[in-house]
Every structure is written in C-alpha cells, then in structure tokens.
C-alpha cells in the first residue's frame, strides 16, 4: 500500500512539478514574480477537487468517453498556453504583461488540476479504510516529496545555467512538454475511438514504461513504449508547429535588435 501510494502520487506530481519548474525558471530569468504560479497551483488543487467529484458524471457523457474527451481538451489547453508563453517570452516587450501572467497561471492550474484529480480519486478510494490509512497518507506524502524535489532540482539547475543557455534550454523544455501534452491528448482520443488505433513500434523490451527511466521519460516527454501511429503524427505536428513558431519569433526579435 505504501509503495503503491508513493508510485501513484509520484507519477502525477512529477508531471506537474516539471512543468511548474520550467515556468518558474523562465519567470526567474525574466525577473518577474513567481507568486502567480503559486496561485495557479492553488487554483489547480481546488479545480481538481471539483473534477474528482464530478468525474463520474463527466465519464458518462459522449457515450461513455466523456472522461477522455474532457482530459484531452485540458491537455490541449496546456499546449496552447505553452505555445503562447514561448512566443511572448521571445518578445522583450511582452514578457511582463498581464497576458503572460494569465497564461502561466492557466497552464499551471490546468496541469495541476488534471494530475491532482487522479490523486484525490485514489485517496478517496481508501481513506475510509482504517487499516491502510496511515500507509496511504505517508506513501502519498513521500511521493509528493520526491516529485517536488525533482521539480526543485530542475528549477535550480535551469537557474544555474548561463542566461543565454538557460533561456534556450527553457524554450526547448517548453516545446518538449507541450509536445507531450498533445501525445497524451491524442492517446486519449485513440482510447475514445476518435482517432485510429494501432501500434507504430514496440520498445517495451529495452525501455519498459514501468521502469524508473521509462516513468521519468513519460513525465517529461510523454514516452510510451507502444504508441499509435496517430499519436506520432499528432506529436510531430505539435512539436514542429511550436518549434517553427518559436524559431520564427526568435529570428524576428534578433533582426529587430
């Protein structure tokens, strides 16, 4: 029970923590306040409580695939927010605007709500059970601790880089995380039968998804050992779009200065 709780909570926390650290590092580099991100986390936690309560009803929408459609659209929102954040970050004049703040809070809140919802559902499944309650809570806290530490580690590593490289690294990570969002969203659409299924390859022999490396790669890149072809197309399209928009914006800002 203890180990199960650690793993479940860690998996969810890790994804959100990595996204938050990249955004916090970007904020730090631009000399902006990071308090907004905290509001994003709080708003996300509250939203996840509401979502956990209404997931039963959401699941029954759209002929039983409401859960997939709902979560896929949340991933889509995070992708769009990250795309806009990347563009704004490259425009000196707009990196401190209200819009940037709103986008960051939105990205964090939506990401936290999606991960938090699952943790709350998991905890709700066992909190009535006296025998397992203590291992449930301690396991969850350990998972939360490890996930948050990994996020903090990434944040400080990014801040320690020379600004020029830190900036590039952040934009690269933003693109990668945004791509992972679309990879997951398209996976959910395959599961809901809105996109065709199938298997593009099987790398589970040399990098299983349930290994430590596999889990880390899943949190960061959305790694899947047996992705569907439709997922790969969606992922490549999403990464390509974001990379080209960022490159175009970067060139424009360089030629302007």
């Amino acid at each position: 029970m203890l180990l199960t709780s650690v793993i479940i909570v860690l998996r969810e926390v890790l994804e959100a923590a990595l996204l938050i650290s990249v955004l916090a590092a970007l904020r730090q580099m631009q000399g902006g306040s990071r308090r907004g991100l905290l509001w994003g986390v709080l708003a996300g936690l509250m939203a996840s409580l509401v979502m956990a309560r209404s997931m039963g009803a959401i699941s029954e929408l759209a002929d039983g695939v409401g859960q997939e459609l709902f979560l896929a659209s949340l991933h889509g929102v995070v992708y769009l927010a990250l795309l806009c954040i990347g563009v704004l970050a490259l425009r000196e004049s707009s990196s401190h605007t209200l819009l940037m703040g709103v986008l960051m809070v939105t990205a964090v809140a939506v990401a936290v709500s999606r991960e938090g919802e699952e943790v709350f559902l998991y905890i709700s499944a066992f909190q009535q059970n006296d025998e397992v309650r203590s291992s449930l809570y301690s396991g969850s806290l350990i998972g939360l601790g490890i996930g948050a530490s990994a996020g903090a580690l990434l944040y400080y590593a990014l801040c320690l880089l020379p600004p020029k490289w830190g900036y590039r690294m952040i934009l690269l990570l933003l693109t990668v995380v945004a791509g992972a969002m679309i990879l997951q969203a398209s996976g959910l659409l395959v599961q809901a039968d809105y996109l065709p299924g199938g298997m593009a390859w099987d790398s589970s022999d040399w990098l299983p998804e349930d290994s430590v490396a596999g889990q880390l790669l899943y949190a960061m890149l959305g790694y899947e050992a047996t992705p569907a072809p439709a997922q790969l197309w969606a992922y490549s399209g999403a990464v390509l779009l974001m990379a080209s928009v960022l490159l175009w914006q970067w060139r424009r800002s360089r030629s302007a200065s």
Binding site: T4, M55, T226
Partner: protein
C-alpha cells in the same frame, strides 16, 4: 477538391459503419478483482471493453502493453476502446490495487 470531399465522406461513412459493429467485451471489477481475470478478445480488430465497477471505490484500469489508462468510479461503468491488437497476451491491472487486481487479455 471535389475528390477530397468525396474521399472524406466515404471515410466518414466507413468509420460510422465500423463504429456500429465493434465487438463488445465485458469485464467486471468486484472486491478489487477482475472477473474474468483471463479475457479472450478478438485479434486485429478494434473492440469495445465495457468495464463494470461494482465496488463502491474507484479503480484505474491500466495496461502498459495496451497503452490504456482510465479511472472507473465506484458503482459506475466505463467504455474503453482497444485494438486492433496483434495476436498475443496483454496483461492489465488495477492501478489502485495492483497486487490483487490483475488480469490478462488474450487476443486471438
């Protein structure tokens, strides 16, 4: 342009036709166990897995091999589309009770 529209319409009709006759496979969750724990499913075809969670608590159907993950709330049913699968054995488990809730899908 016209050809693209016709192709698109045909594709839509085709997928609607496929939607209508997808085989349905039933799975029940009771006392944190899967019934049946060995599930025969059609190979090389998309099918509809209908999971009936009879426990009062939520469970997450999860399978790395099938690339599927879905929370099914207590006393609720859920639908998961799976496949087309190559013939073989695909383990799945309940992430909230991974020690007890285990099963395998045999595609043939």
């Amino acid at each position: 342009m016209l050809r693209a529209v016709i192709n698109g319409t045909l594709l839509l009709m085709l997928s609607a036709a496929c939607l209508a006759d997808k085989p349905v496979v039933e799975l029940v969750i009771r006392d944190h166990l899967f019934y049946p724990s060995q599930l025969k499913v059609p190979a090389n075809a998309k099918f509809k897995l209908r999971v009936d969670n009879q426990d009062p608590t939520p469970e997450e159907f999860e399978s790395y091999e099938l690339n599927r993950e879905k929370v099914i709330l207590g006393k609720r049913r859920a639908i998961i589309f799976i496949g087309p699968l190559a013939p073989g054995v695909y383990p799945f488990f309940g992430e909230f009770n991974p020690k007890t809730a285990q099963g395998t899908m045999i595609a043939e």
